[in-house]
Symmetry: C2
Subunit: 532 residues, 2 copies
């Protein structure tokens, strides 16, 4: 699946004003001028009011109404005399808006716009579907194939553009990225999120954001949206030894969260990740994160997906404000049963956002081979979960790489993940379920209809095609494909397999064809699909 | 470890009046007569009041005070004109008590007693220790080696006595058991929990308990206490096709729970299991169990351990009223990493109370070999969790077996679990932690001090003794034992292993002795213990 990128200029410009256009958006330059905006697109209005003493603390809210429906969208100060309110219409039709503000010049401004049908690439935001999976608002399944580039938005324009070109040609449909700069990675663009108060690296005024920093972020999120890629926006991280953004007081944390949510929530491709490796953030407790989760939930009018990513200790993903589990644990996808475990405990979707990275580092978190990276995705899939990729492949010592800076992909896994994505897209909707779980079947799919079996680094020469009895009564006919997940081939076996009960009560098989021949190579899979 | 049984007569008598004596208890026959009761023992007072119209609904509470401390212990009607209040003193010294009741004859009765030092076998109740483990109130570790006999209390006296004799000679220190009869198992003793209202199997008066049924239960719990065995009392179960106890209305459920808690909470060896295979109880929702959990919590003055056991779907063990996870999942202990997974997600102790059973059944849940049963315990231990045993070994078709009825143990696993218990008791306190988790070390213990490595059905001829760097800096000296977990032998290797950094930054080893020789048999383990 190739995604064409139509608006590189968005990122190059760094201007928020252009960002909404990429999203099927429109703007009302004057309050009375009605425009057309796609459903799930981005409506934006810029309002001017000079001279507020603390503009970042000015309350500005857009109240959007359509019939009985009212949505309150927080606005934000964007520098100069400009305040902006962004809104993503959840339904088509006429919308009216009116500003509530403690600034007299803003309060009571109003207007209207028309939400029109979404264009072909606009499926709406992604939400949880059937407990464990994801789907777009228009019902299309979202088959998560994630990647991570923590600091790509902090890189120079040419590198950002290269990152987007790489993504456009990649299988990835979700990108994890930091808001705050990562001190362990060079921040090559001289923008800071706050106004400085002195020459020291930690001399910040936490009450005054730098709009240019966030305008660049807006543009990056918009560009990802244009590519059909979800932006998994990481609000806090523990890699800040330089700037001190992890040591802000609770009031500053809250102010920051409100500001980012007000700017970004209207982009339909935004997901919120409260933190990366939250348990390394020694300056915050679990109850701080409880509070921040609930703040995001209260400020985001759309209920975008919310998660938090761990190092060694897991946050309680059973808490109601967590929409899905975002997990770092490479060992969890060394088999499909381990992957499944997490799913059952929370009854929520699980994304193994970090399973170590394909790379050449001496660090064990960055030394996976390509096959090992791909294996994790297959195990995750069979276990009914989703997985994330990244790469640590510097060309030479000291060189940058995808995980930190974006740029180009140099590894061997990405093409195989594109192949995997094609398998997923041809498979059941909304996704794969573990079949006869906890009985070592290693089968994912839909009982009675569709089965995937993946053999990892084993190199079997045959597989006994025994189907667990769930949804099978005998007489069902199946076709079988032998899949080479590394060489990216699919061999359809001739004929069909007709199910009959085995002597053991737990299984069915075809007595005339009890086994499937396999080539004795690693990284093989078998797909069993019901015939009509 | 052998446990001698001193009071078989308790169970034989079936009389509640004798039960407390086995617990280091005492009774005040008249309100003014002070007696001595061990700390954590069982104080009981019998109160007489004739003619209450609905005695099972009579409110009776014992208010026990010592200095600033007040404990409200619910009482219960026990047939005839008799009401009882039981209390387990959490601290030594003088206690006063006074009855609150809506029966005039009971209200205001009072007395006192002296809680004296516990005797040698009385370590107090078991509680959670260090997040993942258990300890007695006196600080002694509780190394859980569980078993299950669902219907042992419903069997004839001779069988109950045999069960207790078997347990006394076994390694088991926790027994899972049903309160209500299991209709799929013969209930050979003609006692029912409720008064009958007609000849049909479901003709019950759910407002009138049968005291004799619960007196027998009291005596069984007391006899287990005397043996040092925790009684994991299962309040609801889904195996009742005959009697209809799983279909009671919420009000009857609550009445029943209050009654059982009032009778049993004062026994220091009681644990509450809200249900067995709760997700098969189609007559109750998760919120019903939320309510019942909170009811137990509110009625039990001692905060005894609380859990709930699953079939395919897990209850959210993260909820605050769950003290530990009670899990059915045999596949979870097929490696130690899977076992660990559950522990990390809830940060609570995990007991795999059902991992399939050693047995000869055609059903796959009852066909484990002895080695498979024992393997699950070892994996659970290395993963920082605990495991439960049972047996389905009928002598012939139609014969009963331990899981259902108790009686005798016929399998091969129990002696090996006794051996395992001896290993645990010689190991770290309160228990084994996974070491360098999620990195495939398969090591449990205490970093820097103690390591266990278990090889399962692999039959290695050597093991590279590489210790992860946590708490190791070089120069540490260790002794090594090679353990045959099946043949129950421990071979101490001569000399010592002195740690030095390996070329990889993650491990230390002894360059002069980098490997340990192993015999090429399955079921081996290695123990590495720090020398002073």
């Amino acid at each position: 699946m190739k995604l064409t990128m139509t608006r590189r200029s968005v990122v190059a410009s760094g201007a928020a004003g252009a960002a909404w256009a990429a999203l099927g958006g429109g703007a009302a330059r004057a309050a009375s001028q009605a425009v057309q905006v796609e459903q799930w697109g981005l409506f934006e209005t810029a309002l001017t009011a000079p001279g507020a003493p603390e503009p970042f603390r000015t309350a500005v809210t857009g109240v959007f109404t359509q019939g009985e429906t009212t949505v309150r969208a927080p606005g934000f100060y964007d520098g100069g005399d400009v305040y902006r309110i962004r809104f993503s219409p959840p339904t088509p039709g006429a919308w009216r808006w009116r500003v509530e503000s403690d600034l007299k010049a803003l309060n009571g401004q109003e207007g209207r716009f028309e939400a029109i049908a979404p264009s072909s690439g606009n499926h709406g935001p992604v939400a949880v579907q059937d407990d464990y999976h994801f789907a777009y608002a228009d019902g299309a399944p979202f088959r998560q194939i994630g990647t991570t580039s923590y600091g790509w938005t902090h890189q120079p324009e040419a590198r950002r553009r290269q990152t987007l070109e790489t993504l456009a040609a990649s299988p990835f449909n979700k990108l994890r990225m930091l808001v705050f700069p990562n001190a362990t990675i060079a921040t090559n663009e001289a923008l800071s999120p706050y106004e400085k108060t002195g020459p020291g690296p930690r001399d910040w005024d936490f009450t005054r954001f730098n709009p240019a920093y966030f305008q660049r972020l807006d543009a990056c999120v918009a560009a990802l949206c244009d590519l059909g890629i979800q932006a998994d926006v990481i609000l806090f991280h523990p890699y800040d030894e330089t700037f001190g953004f992890e040591e802000m007081a609770a009031e500053a944390d809250d102010h920051y969260v409100r500001y980012v949510v007000a700017r970004l929530a209207a982009y339909r491709n935004v997901w919120w990740s409260l933190a990366n490796e939250f348990d390394l953030l020694k300056t915050k407790t679990d109850s701080d994160f409880d509070r921040l989760f609930q703040l995001v939930q209260s400020q985001d009018p759309y209920g975008r997906l919310r998660s938090i990513h761990n190092w060694r200790r897991l946050y309680d993903h059973g808490k109601p404000w967590v929409t899905h589990a975002s997990i770092q644990n490479g060992s969890a996808v060394l088999d499909d049963v381990r992957a499944e475990t997490y799913r059952s405990v929370w009854r929520k979707p699980v994304i193994f956002d970090e399973i170590c990275y394909e790379g050449s580092l001496e660090d064990r978190w960055g030394d996976l081979t390509g096959p090992e990276m791909v294996r994790g995705f297959w195990h995750g899939l069979i276990g009914g979960t989703y997985v994330g990729h990244s790469e640590c492949l510097p060309r030479h010592k000291g060189d940058g790489f995808w995980l930190g800076e974006g740029g180009e992909l140099r590894g061997k896994s990405a093409p195989r993940l594109a192949f995997l994505r094609s398998i997923m897209e041809a498979g059941p909707t909304p996704g794969v379920e573990p079949i006869d779980k906890w009985w070592e079947q290693h089968l994912g799919g839909v009982a009675g209809q569709y089965y995937l079996r993946y053999f990892g680094d084993a190199a079997p020469t045959e597989w006994a095609l025994d189907l667990p009895r769930d949804e099978i009564t005998g007489g069902e006919r199946f076709r079988v494909d032998v899949i080479d997940t590394w060489n990216m081939t699919i061999e359809a076996l001739p004929g069909e397999f007709v199910m009959a009960a085995k002597e053991t009560k737990y299984f069915f098989h075809d007595p005339a064809r009890p086994t499937v021949a396999l080539p004795g190579r690693p990284w093989m899979a078998v797909r069993v699909t019901r015939l009509a």
